[in-house]
Symmetry: C2
Subunit: 461 residues, 2 copies
Amino acid sequence: MSNIKPSLAKGTRDFSPQEMVKRNYIFDTVKTVFKKYGYAEIQTPSMENLSTLTGKYGDEGDKLIFKILNSGDYLSKVKPDLLTQANSNAMISSISEKALRYDLTVPFARYVVMHQNDISLPFKRFQVQPVWRADRPQKGRYREFYQCDVDVVGSDSLLNEAEFILIYQEALSNLGLKDFTIKINNRKILSGIAEVVGKPELIIDMTVAIDKLDKIGLDGVIKELLERGFAEADIDRLKPVILLEGTNEQKLDSLKTVLQSSAIGLTGIAEIETVFDYVQEMLKTDSSLNPDVELDVTLARGLNYYTGCIFEVKTNEVAMGSIGGGGRYDDLTGMFGLKGLTGVGVSFGADRIYDVLQELNLFPESAAVGTKVLISNFDKDAERYALPILQRLRRANVATELYPSSAKLKKQMSYADDKRIPYVILIGSDEMQTGFLTIKDMQSGSQKQLSIESIVELLKG
Amino acid sequence: MSNIKPSLAKGTRDFSPQEMVKRNYIFDTVKTVFKKYGYAEIQTPSMENLSTLTGKYGDEGDKLIFKILNSGDYLSKVKPDLLTQANSNAMISSISEKALRYDLTVPFARYVVMHQNDISLPFKRFQVQPVWRADRPQKGRYREFYQCDVDVVGSDSLLNEAEFILIYQEALSNLGLKDFTIKINNRKILSGIAEVVGKPELIIDMTVAIDKLDKIGLDGVIKELLERGFAEADIDRLKPVILLEGTNEQKLDSLKTVLQSSAIGLTGIAEIETVFDYVQEMLKTDSSLNPDVELDVTLARGLNYYTGCIFEVKTNEVAMGSIGGGGRYDDLTGMFGLKGLTGVGVSFGADRIYDVLQELNLFPESAAVGTKVLISNFDKDAERYALPILQRLRRANVATELYPSSAKLKKQMSYADDKRIPYVILIGSDEMQTGFLTIKDMQSGSQKQLSIESIVELLKG
């Protein structure tokens, strides 16, 4: 066996007990909301056939897919001339048949196509699993990270879009976030804008540019639009749309005027209005949810993909990129030969939400508690005395540990401190004689002598 | 985009909503027990540096590790002569730096060494994550499967061993298993036996052979022992030990006689007795747990690894290999330069436990229920009427769906059936007029007309 100083693979992370409890808190909270809205969990394998993934993420994406080397004599299928040319790209398909999943969307599409005879539509699923990308690691960007996706396929109803607004609102509120904005746009509005500007063929250039308004400002956007083939006159027509202000109703009114000659643009507006109407009706008798939804016509998010509503969520409490997003796509499974299946979905950025909760100190105390009480171990007699007590507490569902050897008290106390165990039971000769055990509250430092029955009652609560 | 008929990578599985609910039921049940016994969850990355994994699983194991191809021009670091020789083995380290985790033990050792300054000993952790092996797939053997490990390092107390017996007992009982045996042995007893037979150097051959008693019978074991270098006289001395019968006490008494000249053998016996004593004391006032523990001196399980107690769990209700096992090892982290850290741990075979519960029909009904009620959707008016009701039910934590379009009733009913939704609310013109909604129990087929308040009460329960 080699004797090396071990390290983590670049861009990957260990999760400690404290981190796991917090991560599980996030995942459990959002999963509970997903289930309440009728979504069910699925999982797909970490490795997919390379052919399933290749060509789905563009050339840049293809390069970032982690490929798995074939087992055994993997070079045996490589043509000799490829070997001598040392052509990495040309050789890949001969030495690698499998790859690690790059996102949850393509595996989900494969799942739907492969199981189309077993699932009933609309199919509402959520999926929380890691994905892998050979990106250059940097602060906040990892090569292994969890995605948390919730999608419905086989339903064109805009009720689904409205429900995603409520899912965001409920999940993020349950996590303790108070001030966040759910931005919404519609690809058809963007198409309409490109149409009335007279450059429908430049829709992608237009959206890529105006999507950057937050980052590069209006002047930057105009500069980029000019570079991408728009004329000054186009920009004069675009500017009022980009700078649209006011309430959602005011924006929609303005857009109706601007887009009056574009059928597709008006459809996009009507879709947004229907979504707003659904949300309003659903919340008619429910004041507990009050989402801050904002129509933002500069929102684009991977436009080549979305065909209807587009979502993005931003927290206003911390400087942070979007903590979620998604939208409607009309041909998820077309890549695998199943045409015409519409779908809509959103995702939660679990790592960013973690950082936000951490910064705002929103993780609940309870999310830090594992073991509730440690029984000290002074000597063999005390240990023996403690054994049935240990099991009695566990039978009452109290997470309990007996320190496994008779170490110095200081060591046992610092073990409890490190594990943030809130109570310690001290058993010495007095305690064994009277049957009243000393229980110490580690936070306050106060001690009490209690019967085992009272201790069980205290800790069960 | 390519238009291919998609398939799964060989040896991998999708998990449907129904399967996920059952899998989560198993994982949640065992995790709850782990936590009650003071164990905390960690996770490690799916990919480790190849050097972390290589050499830890033997030559055969090394071949079964999935290697990840380096990104970019991966051939650029390969020496030209290696390329022309087409030597797969020699080239691996030049084109692959990372690999998928093969088990949870080596990553855990790496974790302990890397975080040795942050963790306090004893460190009690559990870990439930997938591992990958390039095995030939066959029935019940997959290339991606979950391991479910619970270990403590930094404590030589036999209390830990006793607690693992209770953890098995409690977790498997909570899953509904009624008749299973927790087998125990001790590496030191095996060493003692090899010693008194006079062939201490053949201990591995001896244990490999007698470990097969269940499968190949006594004659098979004797044949193999002879092939492996034991003499007839050795076997005469071994036979009574292999065939040891009676209660645990009787077996221990016999062993004390047989092993009286072996110090290590007697230590092993004393360790088993201490473990039994701990279990007995802990359960003194607790009749809820009554483990069937059986001393089995033929039990070996990866002996080169274990140094003290060895465990294996078998169900007696279904023909199935072991559903769990583990033991004590004295040098987990030595491979990474941290010497002298003892540990003990066990694992649960989640896939096999799944099959056992399935065969015994032990998954609870509740583990099948996702959405509790579907609200039907006859037309736009009924849909609008349903929207606030939908949200009202969700506010009461009832998992509710509104069918997202006004499809034929038959289609909506079969949607509810497929998803095993137990109730459907029907809203027609009568219902909208009276405010009393029809609620149908999908199992019995019976229908009632109830106010929304009564429906909330009914479904909340």
